[in-house]
């Protein structure tokens, strides 16, 4: 496999943009990535387009990538449509990386895009439910409650076993809201207090409204190429793709407490491929779809032992100027969660952090960054899991 670098990234801000189409969101992100790379559309040889919900929300079920790419000024090049629920964008990134790593192409584009806000919120919520097995959805799952009780998370048991409280979960949201207040691409820019979060509307115990990520509109893009090609176009510090791992959820017997979680398994694959361990990660963007997930992810990524995540949030280890900053962008909580765009927004943030371009939310001199992204629900577990490791 060849060495691959991320030569350009770009975003359209996440938020509520009732007057903007999916094409406009994607076009902005794509052209920002092109400008960042010093490239034009004719330099791109292949494109992977991640999106989850357009078929149900706008009705554009087929060829959604081709419609967007033509609008953005591309023609002729191969376009591959990628759907993996909330992990669509990092799955698209993996496709672009493999094109260059395998030698099939020298320059590839990955796009993540989602348009969720319409004048009809119930339509958007119905579309989201289709990111689970539809037979199960018919039984009456409400995603927040489902998350709280699913065998994968089982939050009340976690709280009891490790003496974790709602305040610990709230502190995750508070940290991410502070980071998000510094991010011009974030949907929610208001810093919150622990009281704000704990006292916000109860959705499904232990989860309150502000512990949950919100839907949004947005897009993000990344251009990958060989280091040699990158040098011809850009003088920015090179960010190498050290690993990009993808797994699906797996069969587990109800009494199986030994098999590691799928987040643990996919991140171990990525660490092994990158030749590093969790102690080497300087900054991470993780999938805090609900605030408690971020704590569980600290443990699953090996940033601490099982049950010790609350110490990391209590002691500020994962805050912007802590030893292990997590979600400097504000995470899904503050940045917003346009599902098919989220993964490439994580990649964009890590690239900016590794180049030292993150402005007021820049963490101290990171050399290794990681993204963790999950999507969908099948059989009581998330459906798709990715971990990507980027190195300066």
């Amino acid at each position: 496999m060849r060495d691959v670098v991320v030569v350009g990234v770009g975003m359209h801000p996440f938020g509520k943009f009732l007057d903007k189409s999916l094409k406009e969101l994607a076009r902005t992100a794509i052209w920002n990535a092109l400008k960042d790379a010093g490239m034009g559309p004719k330099d791109i040889q292949v494109a992977y387009i991640g999106n989850s919900l357009a078929g149900l929300i706008t009705g554009q079920e087929g060829v959604r990538g081709q419609t967007v790419m033509r609008d953005s000024g591309f023609s002729g090049i191969p376009v591959i449509n990628v759907e993996n629920a909330c992990a669509s964008a990092t799955t698209a990134f993996r496709g672009a990386w493999l094109e260059v790593a395998s030698g099939n192409a020298d320059v590839a584009l990955a796009v993540g895009m989602e348009k969720m806000f319409l004048n009809d919120t119930s339509k958007s919520l119905q579309a989201l439910i289709a990111d689970s097995e539809v037979e199960l959805a018919k039984m009456g799952i409400q995603f927040t409650a489902y998350y709280a009780i699913s065998p994968e998370y089982n939050l009340k048991k976690y709280m009891k076993d490790y003496n974790v409280t709602q305040e610990h979960f709230a502190k995750v949201t508070v940290k991410n809201s502070q980071n998000g207040s510094l991010n011009p691409y974030a949907q929610h820019r208001k810093p919150l207090t622990v009281q704000d979060v704990v006292n916000s509307r109860m959705i499904a115990y232990p989860l309150t409204l502000y512990m949950c990520s919100s839907m949004g509109d947005g897009a993000a893009a990344a251009i990958v190429c060989t280091p040699e090609v990158a040098r011809r176009f850009s003088s920015k510090p090179q960010v190498h793709v050290a690993a990009c791992a993808l797994r699906s959820g797996m069969f587990r017997r109800p009494d199986d407490t030994e098999t590691p979680s799928s987040v643990s398994l996919v991140s171990r694959q990525a660490y092994e491929k990158a030749g590093i361990g969790p102690e080497d990660v300087d900054v991470a963007e993780v999938h805090d779809a609900m605030a408690p997930a971020e704590l569980l992810i600290y443990e699953e990524l090996g940033f601490c032992k099982k049950g010790e995540a609350k110490r990391l949030i209590d002691e500020g280890v994962t805050s912007l100027h802590g030893a292990k900053p997590v979600n400097p962008s504000g995470g899904l909580a503050a940045k917003g969660h346009p599902v098919g765009a989220t993964g490439l927004a994580q990649i964009s943030e890590i690239v900016w952090q590794l180049r030292g371009e993150a402005g007021p939310r820049q963490v101290a001199n990171p050399k290794v960054g990681l993204t963790e992204n999950v999507g969908g629900v099948v059989d009581g577990e998330s459906a798709a899991f990715t971990t990507t490791i980027l190195k300066r």
């Binding site: 009456g140 799952i141 409400q142 009340k156 499904a204 109800p254």
Partner: protein, 155 residues
């Protein structure tokens, strides 16, 4: 339909629609017990729900035989959803239950007020087939739920 007589003055009667075919057997009367339809692997004994063709445990094809699941289960986890998808009414109880000699499955909970202390983990519950929601045209969608086993056994 063919001999249309124009606008009918009476609204259509509420119909009962099964949430999914092949998911459960509904009692037709006394002596005919309701049950969930699962499958048991003739090679390894694993019990799956809903029924499967390929055994998820030993991964052999065509070893799964359709079987009724036990109607008894224990609560694994639960919470009260205070918002609801279309057709459902909040608050309502969502749960995962461990079916006796069977799998861990998602279920709504019937028969108790939807409060945060309505159940305890490990509590005995039993199957009930009833309406889970109303659809857009007013039909009753029939599905499965579990409810606490009343003290003294039989309900």
């Amino acid at each position: 339909m063919a001999n249309g007589t124009g606008n009918s003055p009476t609204p259509p009667a509420t119909k009962e629609v099964m949430v999914l075919e092949g998911l459960f057997h509904r009692s037709s009367g006394p002596g005919d017990k309701a049950y969930l339809i699962g499958s048991t692997c003739s090679a390894c004994g694993y019990v799956a729900f809903p029924k499967r063709v390929v055994c998820p445990a030993c991964v052999r094809e065509n070893t799964m035989k359709e079987t009724p699941l036990s109607t008894r289960a224990k609560v694994f986890s639960f919470t009260v959803a205070r918002v609801a998808p279309p057709g459902f009414t909040a608050p309502y109880l969502q749960s995962w239950v461990d079916v006796e000699k069977g799998p861990r499955i998602f279920s709504l909970i019937a028969g108790v007020e939807p409060t945060d202390d309505a159940l305890v983990e490990g509590q005995d519950v039993e199957l009930v087939i009833e309406k889970i929601r109303t659809d857009e045209v007013g039909n009753d969608i029939i599905g499965y739920k579990f409810r606490p086993v009343s003290k003294g056994g039989k309900s």
